[in-house]
């Protein structure tokens, strides 16, 4: 039941993008096409889970025992940066098409608040290791859900006659707002 609550909460109730305001840059940046959106979700999910795992261990095995928790930010981001670069290099070699599709956005993952945000949140929420991983995965799914819905709407809007002044970012933000409005319905579901 604990896990169900964590999952539902992370995906719907406290969706990273729509109510936590994390990972907005890729949310706006990679959502023009459904296909790239899906790819990005994959990348984020992978990085988020691994990053949470590693940072949790670092927190519990190094920072807390040595009483240097103020190093949280710097050490977490260092780990994430290295991890992302690792993924990038590997992907370039192993699957060039995927790299082509996600290429530019991989570096963006480093600066995706959602990754660092989740890493920090798991510590703040005092999750154990499994809970942390579940939370990270669910958050990534929530990110993916928001991203895929958003990309679908944006693709449809590409075919619609949006007024000139609203084309592009403004309308995307309004859509995001209305999506967030809709998601408020999930409030307190768990």
């Amino acid at each position: 039941m604990e896990y169900v609550i964590i999952i539902v909460s992370a995906i719907f109730v406290n969706n990273v993008v729509l109510s936590q305001f994390l990972g907005i840059c890729p949310f706006l940046g990679v959502s023009k096409k459904l296909s790239t959106g899906i790819g990005m979700t994959g990348a984020v999910t992978f990085v988020m889970i691994v990053a949470t795992l590693v940072t949790w261990l670092v927190q519990k095995l190094i920072l807390e025992p040595f009483n240097v928790t103020f190093l949280q930010t710097i050490s977490f981001i260092l780990i994430i940066a290295a991890l992302v670069q690792l993924v990038e290099i590997v992907l370039k070699k192993v699957s060039p098409p995927l790299y082509q599709a996600l290429g530019v956005f991989l570096p963006l993952i480093t600066t995706n608040c959602a990754i660092l945000g989740v890493a920090i949140l798991t510590i703040q929420k005092d999750f154990n290791l499994i809970e942390s991983v579940v939370f990270a995965a669910a958050t990534a799914v929530g990110f993916g859900l928001a991203l895929v819905l958003f990309a679908g709407i944006r693709e449809q809007l590409d075919l619609a006659d949006v007024p000139k002044g609203m084309k592009g970012t403004p309308i995307a933000l309004v859509v995001a707002g209305l999506l967030a409005l809709a998601f408020m319905g999930f409030a307190n579901l768990v």
Partner: protein, 194 residues
């Protein structure tokens, strides 16, 4: 003159929020009031200036492959410093900005500037650039915060403008943040064209 241009571009032409769409999370996350926006903006400015300064100093001594990690370490250091200082001296603001303070480290503007500007330019220019970008960011956040605070709770910098009962709560919440920013960008685009 050139320095002035370098400084002022961050406010309008290359404003991080309105035109480059960078650093959206803090932009949307903390701007439920003008004062939060300003606080966040200034904190970011501090990090931006210091990071630009240090990176432009050390840029020649960093091997290509570790450029990003090195930059991140520098940035993260300053973020942590800000974090500790705020915790000590402005605890109330620190609480309301919450998670977004450590997240300055991943604010695309900071790293973006380090990469795109400080790693290629002199110390002086880099500081000016950081200052311009940062203050431009702070300005945008303050503006958005003002709009949201005014529409949402009838206040501006905590000063009541009209009775709170008439405020539209949505603007204090997540959906309002997106919507307000969307229309602000539309208006600013329009002004830029005119």
């Amino acid at each position: 003159m050139n320095q002035w241009k370098n400084f002022s571009k961050g406010f309008f032409k290359e404003n991080a929020v309105f035109t480059l769409l960078l650093g959206m999370c803090p932009t949307l996350g903390v701007t439920s009031s003008a004062i939060n926006g300003l606080g966040m903006g200034l904190a970011t400015t501090f990090v931006l200036v210091m990071a630009n300064l240090v990176i432009s100093l050390i840029k020649d001594f960093i091997p290509e492959k570790v450029r990003i990690p090195a930059f991140i370490v520098v940035i993260a250091t300053f973020v942590t410093i800000v974090e500790m200082l705020m915790q000590a001296y402005t605890p109330a603001l620190y609480e309301s900005l919450g998670l977004f303070i450590p997240l300055i480290v991943v604010n695309c503007i900071v790293l973006g500037r380090a990469e795109a500007f400080a790693s290629k330019n002199s110390v002086g220019a880099s500081i000016v650039d950081g200052l311009g970008m940062g203050l431009g960011f702070a300005m945008a956040l303050t503006m958005l915060g003002s709009v949201r605070e005014l529409l949402g709770s009838g206040k501006l910098f905590n000063v009541s403008i009209y009775p709170e009962d008439y405020g539209m709560l949505v603007f204090v919440l997540a959906p309002g943040a997106f919507i307000a920013l969307g229309y602000m960008i539309a208006i600013i685009d329009k002004m830029k064209k005119a």
